[in-house]
Amino acid sequence: MKSNSRVGRLSWSGQAPLITLVVLCVVTALLTSRFLSPLNLTNILVQSSIMAVIAMGMTFVIIGGGFDLSVGSTVALSGCIAAMVMIRYGIAAGVVSGVLAGAGVGLANGVVIAALRVNPFIATLGSMVLVRGVVYIITGGAPVSGEDGLPGAFVAFGNARLFGVHYLVWVPAVLLVVLSVLLSSTPYGRRIYATGGNKEAAYLSGVAVERIVASTYVWCGALAGLAGVMLAARLQSGQPTAGEFYELTAIAAVVLGGASLHGGEGALYKSVIGVFIMIVLGNGLNLLNVDSYWQRVAVGAVIVAAAAADRLRSRN
């Protein structure tokens, strides 16, 4: 293993998630011809879209050195609020209030973590449970779809296409471009990396670290809120039980994408590749008729492998 040159290592390791994804796709395609059918490729894009939005938000937090377990509950909250508002006041009001609800949860998380210095794991574990409770309270535990269902145009958004690509896929595609520029090419973005990489050093060089950390949670909450709205369109209703365990899938995807749980490292497009790895794995296992009990073993093994890779890399 040591025979690999340093140059080789540099050029490979940065693109490791992409290589993993390509290998996974090639292997699946060799095992079943259905994998590369246009229908299946479209399916993979749509299936990845909502998780991609959540994972991008999670990437902000993880680069900033934090962690957010509350995104799954936020998805449900935003979806239900969007549905409830939309039934009375129209689609635009519904979408905006859904995203704002998510941003509100993120702001609360950010204030508790950055200003009160509560450990992010505990703080967001608490908000995960709290927000889920709020969802059940406002909905009475029942799905929200109104008397005659959600507005037709909103439901169509969950299934229709623009230039041959689903609207649900356009959302993360556009976000990926805009937010990548924000993260890598603006002073604000560089401050997030600096804060996550070394908080002390960032503070000493004049970065308002508390504000930066808090802002990452707002991004995460707002994007989870947007994902919740997208999910409500997909499910044609606001679902109080939606998004359970999404936080774990999102974190796994971000780490699969090579971001470090120690902060300061990661890229949005790599997290999206991480999402694709998770989705292609599930899709491939379904196409290959792998028993659902074994699917859990496979997904768990991939998560463990990703965490181990993260650990080994940080030791190097």
Binding site: M1, N4, R9, W12, S13, A16, I19, T20, V23, L24, V27, T28, L31, T32, R34, S37, L39, N40, N43, Q47, I50, G141, A142, P143, G149, N159, L231, R234, L235, Q236, S237, Q239, A242, E244, G258, I277, L281, G282, N283, L285, N286, L287, L288, N289, V290, D291, S292, Y293, W294, Q295, V297, A298, A301, V302, A305, A306, A308, A309, L312, R313
Partner: protein, 317 residues
């Protein structure tokens, strides 16, 4: 070397290994493969249903592909999309929600694949057939049985299911429809809410305190009934106040045998699964099938509980 390359390599090994574990991944093209999507992998009801599906499919020489959803609606939609991409000939689904997974039905319709709902149904216009329990009729049967048992008069309490769920609305509708024909029977207590034993207990306690001469308690399912039974036993009213359940789960059957729950209704999930495959087979042959097909239900009380329990017991070796 990069650990990521090891990871990629591990992923490359994983798929074929798993495919090998669960049998050949590539099937002869002429063999009929059907897809199955159920709400849970670990619920005895759905395990029984899948058993019935697999058994009947094997008799027909069909292959069965399952996708799991773990009560996650999006996962159920995704799984059905995968089944459509796989090119299955038909899909059996028990939708998690009547509205939430309609996109799964749309995906099947887009692939021109028939999709049959088992047990739970969908509002989707793309639902090909719904193999359902005749909920209103079950409600009527429970009420007829109860009215006969209490001699056509007395006070009755109803512990109903969640108000939003159509199944429990239909059950209660059938029940009330029959009781309204008995002028001497009054429904004196009515609640709706979650289907837990705890709630059955609490509501039955309240009903018994308010109405010491209560004759019967209708519980919308066996969990509620088992809770209500505890309240009846604690109040020493066994024999004076009867409790009826619905579903025929093993602890309820035991309670019927012991005389603590008066009756329950058996919905056999294995037969449900078999019927689903038969309905799909009829449809695929091109024969006409009604959009709603009802599964038979059996009333279980002290007269036949021994037979039912004997059938459920594992065969002696």
């Amino acid at each position: 070397m990069s650990q990521f390359r090891q990871l990629a390599f591990a992923a490359a090994l994983l798929l074929p290994a798993l495919a090998a574990v669960s049998g050949p991944g590539v099937h002869a093209e002429d063999k009929v493969t059907i897809g199955v999507s159920l709400p849970q992998d670990d619920n005895p009801f759905y395990i029984g249903m899948l058993k019935g599906i697999r058994a009947r499919a094997a008799e027909l020489g069909w292959d069965v592909t399952t996708v799991s959803s773990n009560e996650d609606k999006l996962k159920q939609i995704n799984g059905v999309q995968d089944l459509v991409a796989k090119g299955v000939k038909g899909i059996l689904i028990s939708p998690i929600d009547a509205v939430g997974v309609n996109a799964a039905y749309d995906a099947a319709a887009a692939g021109k694949i028939p999709i049959v709902s088992l047990a739970r149904g969908s509002t989707s216009p793309n639902q090909t057939i719904h193999v359902a329990m005749d909920e209103v009729q079950v409600g009527r049967d429970i009420a007829e049985w109860t009215a006969k048992k209490i001699g056509g008069k007395g006070k009755v309490a109803m512990i109903m299911g969640p108000s939003g769920a159509p199944t429990f609305r239909n059950l209660a509708q059938g029940y009330n429809e029959v009781l309204s024909k008995y002028p001497d029977i009054q429904v004196v207590f009515k609640t709706d809410g979650p289907m837990t034993r705890e709630r059955g207990l609490k509501n039955a306690e309240d009903a018994l305190v308010a109405n010491p001469d209560l004759k019967a308690i209708y519980a919308a399912n066996d969990d509620l009934a088992l809770g209500a039974m505890q309240a009846v036993l604690a109040a020493n009213k066994n024999g004076q106040t009867i409790v009826t359940g619905m579903n025929g789960v093993p602890p309820a059957l035991k309670a019927v045998k012991e005389g603590n729950v008066a009756m329950t209704v058996e919905l056999n999930p294995v037969l449900w699964g078999r019927l689903g495959v038969d309905v799909l087979a009829t449809y695929l042959k091109g024969d006409k099938v009604e959009p709603r097909v009802f599964i038979k239900h059996v009333i279980i009380d002290s007269s036949n509980v021994d037979d039912v329990l004997a059938k459920m017991a594992p065969p002696k070796t």
